[in-house]
């Protein structure tokens, strides 16, 4: 049905184009002076039909499912849903849907079958209604468009106006996305804080989200203090930076100052490959190679290295960040004005002295900006830590120990069954909100530093 609606829409748009263009042509053939070219008349008609009808279909598709669900559940015999929480209600709805889809398991209650039949009826009606309304709308717009054709009609301006509107809409998608991110995170976080007090989340030092799902289950009480989780994130980030910053900086210095152009041409893309490897691959690499190697190392030296040590995830994350830091440092070093470099060399400084005493201090703001962006990446990085870091939150700064991170907790809390009224699920959104704020803050700071430094030399 949806496909037919779209086909109808495109057919109407093409029809509008052809009709209006030929009408304009015949006007012109009749000797009239038209303001716009006949193709603009056609284009205007096509756009006038296309845009509102397309919007209508999309909106219908977005909202018809939830309206139908509500109608179906609202039509159930009175009292069936009394005392059920949202999870159970969802379950009933899912069962009704699967019956309506023709998949019947066991022998469901008659009221469920009845509801499923009603749902199937609604669905057929909704599809027909959508098709009918689409046709009606397209036809109406066709007629309106056709009546605009006249010598004075400024078809080009009108058509270009519609296109400009479309382009403005396209650029506002970015804003809508940001609004969507903030709205969804804030909304769910507020609901979370209605169940768990905010000071407990912000200042609590235990994180045990495994709370009982049913009343008779034996499980931990459930504690939602995010500090140990955030501390774990910081531990892994610090390990990653300890590895990535020196290697990234030194390779940037080498590439910028010492390497022959040929080596540079070969080495830069190879480093970029490290940046292009998907993080799930790094995660598997950490589990497959790095963690066992660290374990053997621990056994050899007697160091107490935990199986899910933060070192493994941190090291691999460091590898991922090397090209990031090196390309930022490379850019920063290259951006230092030639005069500074030449001046230092002319005074007799060696290249190393030039780099360390002249170029490096001048490039510091750019490098710091790059490192900060790397920090924000490390904090937001998900797959490496999901695969290689631990699940238990501990208040520890020992990188040999197993720690968990914000992103690991978000993913583990949301994988599998998620219902939107359990503190477990909502806690993930609260963590996501903190993650968003922290990374956004670091990014803004980093960009500000980079910009400031650009102003000095430009």
């Amino acid at each position: 049905m949806t496909l037919i609606a779209f086909l109808l829409l495109f057919a109407a748009a093409i029809l509008g184009y052809v009709l209006n263009r030929s009408a304009a042509r015949s006007l012109r053939a009749g000797g009239a002076q038209l303001h716009s070219l006949s193709t603009f008349h056609g284009g205007f008609a096509a756009l006038l039909v296309l845009v509102p009808t397309f919007l209508f279909i999309i909106l219908w598709l977005l909202f018809h499912a939830s309206v139908l669900d509500r109608l179906t559940m609202g039509g159930l015999p009175a009292g069936t849903l009394d005392g059920l929480d949202s999870g159970a209600t969802q379950l009933i709805l899912a069962e009704i849907k699967s019956i309506a889809g023709g998949r019947i398991f066991g022998s469901p209650e008659p009221w469920k079958i009845e509801a499923a039949e009603r749902l199937a009826g609604y669905r057929a009606m909704s599809a027909n209604l959508m098709l009918g309304l689409t046709a009606l709308l397209a036809l109406g717009l066709l007629v309106i468009a056709r009546r605009t054709v006249s010598p004075e009609f400024r078809a080009r301006q009108r058509a270009e106006g519609i296109i400009k509107g479309l382009m403005i809409f396209c650029s506002s998608v970015a804003i809508f996305t940001t609004i969507g991110i903030i709205a969804s995170l804030v909304f769910e976080t507020v609901r979370f804080f209605q169940m768990v007090p905010w000071h407990e989340f912000l200042f609590g030092t235990t994180w045990e989200p495994q709370m009982p799902i049913r009343a008779d289950q034996i499980a931990a009480e459930g504690a939602f203090g995010w500090l140990p989780v955030f501390l774990g994130t910081l531990v892994i980030t610090v390990v990653a930076l300890f590895f990535a910053v020196p290697i990234g900086l030194l390779s940037a210095i080498y590439l910028n100052e010492f390497a022959s152009p040929r080596f540079r041409k070969f080495a830069k893309p190879v480093l970029e490959v490290l940046a292009g490897v998907p993080t799930v691959v790094y995660g598997f690499f950490a589990v497959l190679t790095i963690a066992p190697a660290l374990r053997t190392f621990g056994e050899m030296t007697g160091l107490p290295i935990a199986p899910n040590t933060a070192m493994a995830a941190g090291l691999v994350m460091g590898v991922m960040l090397i090209p990031f830091i090196s390309s930022f440092a490379d850019d920063a070093l290259s951006a230092v004005p030639r005069a500074l470099r030449d001046g230092a060399l002319a005074l007799g400084a060696t290249r190393a002295e030039t780099v360390l005493n002249v170029l490096f201090p001048a490039a510091i703001p750019g490098i710091v900006g790059g490192v900060l962006l790397a920090v924000s990446r490390a904090i937001g990085e998900t797959m490496i830590v999901v695969m290689a870091a631990g699940l238990m939150a501990k208040m520890t700064i020992n990188p040999l120990d197993s720690v968990t991170t914000v992103t690991v907790q978000i993913v583990t809390l949301l994988i599998g069954d998620t219902s939107f009224d359990s503190p477990k699920t909502l806690a993930a959104f609260a963590l996501g909100f903190m993650l968003f704020i922290v990374t956004l803050g670091i990014n803004v700071l980093a960009l500000r530093i980079v910009h400031k430094y650009r102003e000095i030399y430009d």
């Binding site: 270009e160 996305t177 292009g276 090397i322 990085e381 993913v411 968003f436 956004l440």
Partner: protein, 428 residues
């Protein structure tokens, strides 16, 4: 002239003295030290890349071959009921076949376990496709189950004590009997690409994941490409320089740096929670990826538009084109190679993206490839995540193999992008 002598002149330095020579050597040494440390740093980075690739290849190449056994199956009425081919005793048929094949074997269940669990369905499908085979003997080449596959690839050490080994002595002896008859072969593992996911490593494949990723990327492209170009054109060519345009720009730059898992949260709350879309749907995954790819495409498109020289615009305006005609007839076609390069690089990033897809449930266990973008499925990176989490030994090499497939696609996409850039990019 006399007072010149009263002032201490520039200290004369003996540049050939040992003291100076030592100092110069020291400075040279410091220079060399920095050079070698820098080279060492790059060396470490390269070594890490080499280690990454070699560890993937060394574990993954085995999964591209799968041990098969060629068996002669006779569809006898003892096991096969011609009236009910669907529910005949194919397991018994295979047990009898294997007992015949291995001299001295008595335990039919044990020797039949050499074959994959899917072997009985292969036997069934063969006769259902051609019921005339009843009573005849056909040759089937079926995969072995995972432990025997590991054994044939030398991944099970025969010297470990029997108690610690996955296969016992008599099981190894039975397999050796097959080996000596020459019925064991290791052809290319087509199942890896042609099958969907399965609990059994020897039957698990990437078909579902590949289709899922394809549909998700297609959705992502269809949404992000037009929207990204529209936004970039507006911001670069039409937008007035005011607060609103600045705000949009800041927004786009910030979106590019938002962690991917946050996009997953957005999709979970908005697409699944508020709009009631289904879980594990490639279409929803594609929409999420489109939001993430959008900043990349916008930034690349703006750079490409900027690179078109103003003389082109002025010439078109000069002969009477409207501003939109200038952009759509002249600037955009000239900028297209750059735009496509940026788009492909953005799509390559989207292909490797995992976290947001996990949150919308694209890590479900689905044993059929999706027929449309609206059927539940996995994607390539999430399939890697699932397999990496699976306990069976056979999935380790399959995970590496899946990663190699993913990396192959990424290399291909980037190669196309580089080709486009080199072939069509103009220097003005």
């Amino acid at each position: 002239m006399t007072d010149m002598t009263s002032h201490p002149g520039p200290k004369s330095i003996d540049w050939t003295s040992d003291e100076i020579g030592a100092r110069v050597r020291k400075r040279k040494a410091a220079e060399n030290r920095l050079r070698y440390i820098g080279l060492g740093a790059i060396g470490i980075a390269f070594a890490m890349l080499a280690l990454l690739i070699s560890s993937l290849v060394s574990t993954g190449w085995q999964a591209f071959r799968q041990t098969h056994v060629t068996i002669q199956v006779t569809y006898t009425p003892e096991f096969i009921n011609p009236d009910n081919l669907q529910r005949s005793n194919y397991r018994g048929l295979l047990e009898a076949t294997m007992l015949d094949l291995i001299p001295g074997a008595t335990n039919g269940r044990s020797v039949a376990a050499i074959l994959s669990n899917g072997a009985q369905f292969t036997a069934r499908d063969r006769i259902i496709a051609d019921p005339a085979l009843m009573g005849q003997t056909v040759t089937l080449r079926v995969p072995t189950s995972d432990p025997y596959d590991q054994l044939a690839k030398g991944l099970i050490d025969r010297d470990t004590p029997e108690a610690n080994r996955r296969l016992k002595n008599d099981e190894i002896a039975a397999f050796d009997a097959l080996l000596s008859q020459g019925v064991v072969s290791k052809p290319f593992n087509w199942a890896l690409l042609g099958n969907a996911d399965s609990r059994f490593p020897e039957q698990a494949g990437l078909k579902g994941a590949l289709w899922g990723s394809f549909y998700a990327l297609l959705t992502c492209f269809l949404l992000a490409f037009p929207i990204g170009i529209g936004a970039a054109i507006y911001l670069e060519e039409f937008a007035p320089k005011n607060k609103m345009s600045d705000f949009i720009e800041v927004n786009i730059n910030n979106l590019a740096a938002v962690p991917s898992v946050v996009f997953g949260l957005l999709a979970l709350a908005v697409f699944l929670g508020w709009f009631g879309m289904g879980r594990s749907i490639p279409f929803v995954g594609g929409m999420t990826l489109a939001l993430m790819t959008l900043p990349t495409i916008i930034i690349a498109t703006r750079a490409a538009l900027k690179a078109v020289p103003p003389s082109i615009r002025e010439a078109a305006l000069g002969v009477g084109a409207s501003k939109q005609q200038v952009v759509f007839h002249h600037v955009l076609p000239l900028a297209m190679p750059g735009i496509l390069t940026g788009t492909i690089i953005g799509l390559a990033q989207a292909l490797g993206e995992t976290a947001p897809l996990l949150l919308i449930g694209m890590n479900a266990f689905v044993t059929a490839a999706p027929a449309t973008p609206f059927d539940p499925s996995t994607a390539l990176p999430t399939q890697i995540f699932i397999w990496a989490d699976s306990p069976e030994r056979g999935f380790v090499s399959r995970t590496s193999a899946a990663i190699l497939v993913l990396l192959g696609f990424l290399v291909m996409m980037n190669a196309v992008a580089i080709y486009l850039r080199n072939r069509f990019e103009r220097r003005w």
